[in-house]
């Protein structure tokens, strides 16, 4: 059935017949004589089935009225169109770094239509400045949308586009690139950019928000300021993620993309560096960047970026669990997958009965990388016999790499470097962007409060 602004059935028919649309002012008279005067709202599709009409009253409240209770419904006036005069971006201030903000469809910047409640993204420098005027003190910036997609719908193909756009900006000579990105798959994209552009002259900063920007408590303005500071004056030239450092609005953390992981579904400090320290802390209030970790690649105006941006989308990331069936992996081999990353148990193990399948994959020229679902710590295949048998079968031990990073790296190697098993193994085991950390010190592991 065709929906009318989210309405269906009788409600849609009535609304259509008198030609009222969301935003229009209407009068609704109920059978019991109650009269409501308000603005018609669009219907969320999820609830289209209910015989309900949604109205915004003049006191701001939305109410849903059962259409069967309505005796009369009339249009009072058509929607008023508000023209919003946005402020244009300020001209280039002397000596400020130049930055570009690329939108990918994440909701870091969006605004609410107070009449219908609809949230729409904004991405003109003027609108962004109007909302976060502090950005004008940090850098001169341009903004454009390079794609419009939910973070969870991102595919390796999108990394190719994104890499190309970022590369263009770096060649243009910007002092930093900020990428507004949904947080769900952000660390995958940040890893992709870590590999697809080598010899970066400037930082590539991913930023997002855990609380949408349509609320006063949103973390997006804070994160955006921190990202701009990191992009414009951070001494590192890596693909990083800048997000809240703790629940308070005090500092943000600069995580190396290949070492970062979203560790909480909803907290603003969801992102954490695993098996490594974050690179830096950023204090938006004072605009200070304090280096607290290692810098793998330094900023350099004269560095020439190299773009290698093909990703192989025939790579699988498989979690090992009790009862994992050999067919799962057999299918990948039979369906012609090009690479497999395993998220093994403990030090990097999997059920012994699956080892022959691994051997078969390797014989079929399919690289198999072993990582650990423990996330913290390093894979070691020498400690137990299962590990030694896996090595014998040809598994590539992933050291302390995150499973997600291993997936992106393998996809990139197969797409941009080689599909030769020996070459894949050699490149995979090379530390290209800080994805391996050779030294794990005691305080790299979080401790919880138990009392």
């Amino acid at each position: 059935m065709e929906l009318y602004y989210g309405y269906s059935g009788n409600v849609a028919r009535i609304l259509r017949s008198i030609g009222v649309e969301p935003g229009d002012r209407i009068i609704v008279v109920l059978k019991d004589g109650t009269v409501f005067n308000g603005i018609l709202m669009p219907r969320q599709v999820l609830y289209s089935g209910r015989p309900v009409l949604v109205l915004k009253l003049d006191n701001g409240y939305n109410i849903g009225l059962n259409i069967d209770e309505v005796s009369d419904l009339r249009l009072v006036s058509k929607k008023q169109v508000h023209h919003h005069g946005g402020v244009e971006a300020v001209g280039r201030a002397e000596g400020l770094p130049r930055i570009v903000l690329l939108g990918t469809g994440g909701t870091i910047a969006s605004k609410v239509d107070y009449e219908t409640g609809a949230v729409t993204p904004v991405l003109t420098p003027g609108e962004i400045l109007e909302w976060v005027p502090e950005l004008a003190e940090i850098a001169v910036f341009n903004a454009r949308e390079v794609m419009s997609i939910f973070s969870e719908d991102i595919e390796p193909l999108h990394w190719e586009n994104l890499s190309r756009e970022v590369y263009k900006e770096l060649v243009e000579g910007v002092d930093g690139v900020v990428i507004a990105h949904g947080t769900d798959m952000m660390s995958y994209s940040a890893s992709a950019l870590a590999f697809s552009i080598m010899n970066k002259p400037a930082p590539i900063v991913f930023v997002g928000s855990q609380r949408s920007s349509d609320r006063p408590s949103s973390d997006s303005a804070f994160n955006l300021r921190a990202a701009f500071i990191a992009a414009s004056k951070g001494p590192f030239a890596e693909s990083v993620i800048v997000m809240h450092g703790e629940t308070s609005d005090t500092y943000a953390l600069v995580h190396r993309g290949v070492k970062a992981r979203k560790m909480h579904t909803s907290r603003r400090d969801a992102f954490q560096s695993i098996n490594d320290k974050p690179i830096a802390k950023v204090y938006p209030e004072t605009m200070e960047v304090r280096i607290v970790g290692r810098i793998i690649e330094h900023r350099g105006k004269n560095k020439k970026a190299q773009l290698k941006n093909k990703f192989d989308d025939r790579v699988a990331l498989v979690k090992v669990y009790p009862g994992l069936q050999p067919e799962m992996l057999e299918t990948l081999i039979d369906k012609g997958f090009h690479g497999i990353v395993l998220e093994g148990s403990g030090l990097g193990h999997m059920p012994n009965k699956l080892i022959p399948v691994i051997a078969r994959a390797v014989e079929n020229n399919i690289p198999v990388v072993m990582t650990s679902q423990c996330l913290f710590g390093r894979v070691n295949l020498y400690v137990y016999s299962t590990g030694r048998r896996l090595l014998e079968a040809g598994v590539i031990p992933g050291s302390d790499i995150l499973p997600e990073t291993a997936y992106v790296k393998l996809s990139w190697i197969l797409g941009s470097v080689s599909r030769d098993l020996g070459e894949v193994r050699k490149v995979f085991l090379t530390n290209l962007a800080g994805e391996f950390n050779e030294r794990h010190i005691l305080d790299l592991y979080p401790r919880w409060n138990h009392e």
Partner: protein, 638 residues
């Protein structure tokens, strides 16, 4: 101040009554609805900013608040707050219990219940809501209740989350505790159908009572709050926030009517003096020189801070008006000072109607008139001593307020002071800034939901009254007192609990007679929690004390909070007297008074009785003592 004839003033009052609900969990998470006094281990800080599309349209006060870059600190007690209050997790589904209470209340007030309820976000940017908005839902509209003087319309009933508690405030930081955040509140708003202060109190009482009759209202300080909307003919609609006590309502209304009448008188005088808004100059004059060698401590202190100065505005034709009292202890000048404080963040103002004073001399006032070119015969001068930026903002607001005085009474939101007077808080918000809470699905009010709610619909007070008299055996007077008592729900619970063991009259009189009389005697009855009352009645039910001992035990516990009831009973020597002990005491009394008994025979009863009662009062039923004494005398005299 003379008595006001309210019908002549065209007074219209609407009430907004907020009552916390005593549900097991909060409205949008699973935390208990408790306040915690323990020191919070978790504290976090946040900033708020107007949401994107708000900039430029948001009310000026909120924007000003934001520009001050206020930091909000939140104490998060782990026993009564979670990630939802910290705005670190989306809200959970709405608490069904709270929803049912709201639906039941709406039914009892003859309201039209909304078919599908939508939870909204109401933008609040003062930090009291961590998210920057308060979640609220309109449950029902268009009802009424009956008052002695006719129907009072009930416009809306909303279910909303309570805000965080403010703990402390400094210039740069506001500290809140988030235990209270999320406790369900019902908000009942009446139509402006109330026409005098007594009626307002009556209606507030009635609505409060109706909510309590559901048995789900919280009690105690801060659990009920009243806002008033007041207007008079020729005046303006003024909203007064945060009236915490019922007894203040009539006073607040009286004082507000008085204020509006006085402001209208001032307007008439200004018109008579031909003052027009455009005559009031925007010119803010630096008069620091005048106070170079001042003896005024306040001015001296302001001048000692870097960038500190004294700034003045001339209010042409206002001489004498700033000193007019418009509420007890508050003058028209106080209204100007409120504006200066809110908009400029300054401590206050000085005006020439109150000078010389505060260490400012006659000579300085004269110099002030010379420096500003004002006419000492007809003009008033307002000065502010502070850093320039703040002083200028403050004086701009003073000018704006003075201009409004020529037009009439401004529509505004005011805060109630403890004495019933009010002070300016902020302009009335324009159209409410609300948008849908997209994290919570709309709630379709099904017949099943209404069926569940119908079980919570409070019995009408008349019905209850009848039941208390007929079934519980209360006198009409006692029954009425119980119905009006805050602890009504406790009464009902205890009557059930002690059925057959303690008569309802004892429970009722403990609540509505004994406790108030202890308060009159200066006993700190705020220490008498529900469980204390219950402990004492337990002791009565278990024959550990006699009912006569209730006042003494309650009083002793109130004076020694934390002491166990067992210890109190022991210390007061209130342990129940056994029959054999009683026999022993009667024997002693008889022996001691043998002469009188032989002389007076049966008439000696009083003497023996009072002798025995001296040592057993409050420890055994008096009727039993009398019976035993009679028996004994009969036996001796036989």
């Amino acid at each position: 101040m003379s008595r006001i004839n309210y019908s002549e003033t065209g007074l219209k009052v609407g009430l907004e009554i907020h009552v916390q609900l005593d549900t097991a969990r909060k409205l949008f998470c699973k935390c208990p609805t408790l306040l915690s006094e323990a020191e919070a281990r978790e504290v976090f800080t946040r900033y708020l900013r107007p949401a994107k599309s708000e900039v430029g349209e948001i009310d000026r006060a909120a924007l000003l608040e934001w520009k001050k870059n206020k930091k909000y600190e939140y104490e998060a007690p782990v026993e009564s707050s979670c990630l939802v209050e910290a705005d670190e997790e989306p809200p959970h589904e709405i608490d069904e219990d709270a929803l049912l209470v709201a639906l039941a209340l709406a039914s009892s007030m003859n309201m039209r219940i909304i078919d599908e309820i939508h939870v909204m976000r109401k933008i609040v940017i003062d930090g009291s809501n961590v998210s920057g908005f308060q979640r609220t839902a309109l449950i029902a509209v268009n009802g009424y209740i009956m008052d002695n003087e006719g129907k009072i319309g009930i416009q809306t009933l909303c279910l909303e989350e309570d805000a965080a508690r403010k703990i402390d405030e400094s210039e740069a930081t506001v500290r809140y505790r988030i235990d209270r955040l999320g406790i369900p509140l019902v908000e009942v708003a009446t139509a402006p159908d109330i026409h005098d202060p007594e009626q307002a109190v009556r209606v507030a009482l009635k609505i409060g009572q109706l909510i309590r009759l559901t048995g789900r209202a919280k009690r105690g300080l801060g659990t009920i709050r009243q806002d008033l909307n007041i207007s008079i003919k020729g005046g303006a609609k003024v909203e007064i926030k945060g009236v915490q006590h019922l007894y203040l309502i009539s006073k607040v209304i009286e004082y507000e009517v008085l204020r509006q009448l006085k402001l209208l008188e001032i307007r008439v005088e200004l018109v008579k003096r031909s003052v027009r808004p455009e005559n009031i100059s925007d010119n803010i004059i630096d008069v620091t020189d005048v106070f170079r060698d001042t003896g005024s401590k306040i001015v001296k202190k302001a001048l000692s801070i870097p960038g500190g100065g004294v700034y003045a505005v001339v209010l042409r034709g206002f001489k004498g008006l700033l000193g007019i009292e418009i509420q007890p202890g508050r003058r028209f000048g106080s209204e100007l000072a409120d504006y200066a404080r809110v908009w400029g963040g300054v401590g206050g103002i000085f005006h020439t109607d109150e000078l010389p004073n505060y260490g400012i001399t006659r000579e300085e006032v004269q110099a002030l008139y010379v420096k500003t070119g004002a006419d000492p015969g007809i003009d008033a001068i307002v000065i502010v001593a502070d850093v320039k930026q703040k002083a200028v903002e403050a004086l701009k607001a003073v000018i704006e307020r003075a201009r409004i005085a020529v037009i009439g009474v401004p529509e505004e939101t005011r805060a109630a002071n403890p004495d019933g007077t009010t002070k300016y808080m902020r302009p009335r918000p324009g159209s409410a800034r609300m948008y849908p809470e997209t994290d919570i699905p709309p709630i379709y009010v099904t017949p099943e939901l209404m069926e569940k709610a119908s079980k919570l619909i409070p019995e009408p007070p008349e019905k209850k009254l009848e039941k208390y008299v007929r079934e519980h055996g209360l006198s009409m007077e006692l029954a009425k007192a119980v119905i009006n008592d805050l602890r009504l729900d406790l009464y009902e619970r205890l009557v059930e609990k002690y059925r057959g063991r303690i008569p309802a009259t004892i429970i009722a009189s403990t609540l509505v007679n004994i406790i108030p009389s202890l308060r009159r005697d200066g006993v700190p009855i705020e220490n008498i929690d529900d469980y204390v009352i219950e402990d004492v009645l337990d002791a009565v039910a278990n024959n550990e004390i006699a009912k006569e001992a209730i006042p003494d035990v309650l009083s002793s516990i109130a004076r020694n909070p934390g002491k166990s009831i067992k210890d109190v009973i022991k210390e007061l020597g209130l342990g129940v007297v056994s029959i054999s002990e009683l026999d022993e005491l009667i024997n002693e009394a008889v022996k001691k008074n043998m002469d009188k008994i032989t002389a007076k025979r049966e008439k000696a009863f009083q003497i023996v009785m009072s002798e025995v009662m001296k040592s057993v009062r409050g420890r055994i039923d008096g009727a039993l003592v009398a019976e035993k004494v009679r028996e004994k005398l009969k036996e001796i005299l036989k």
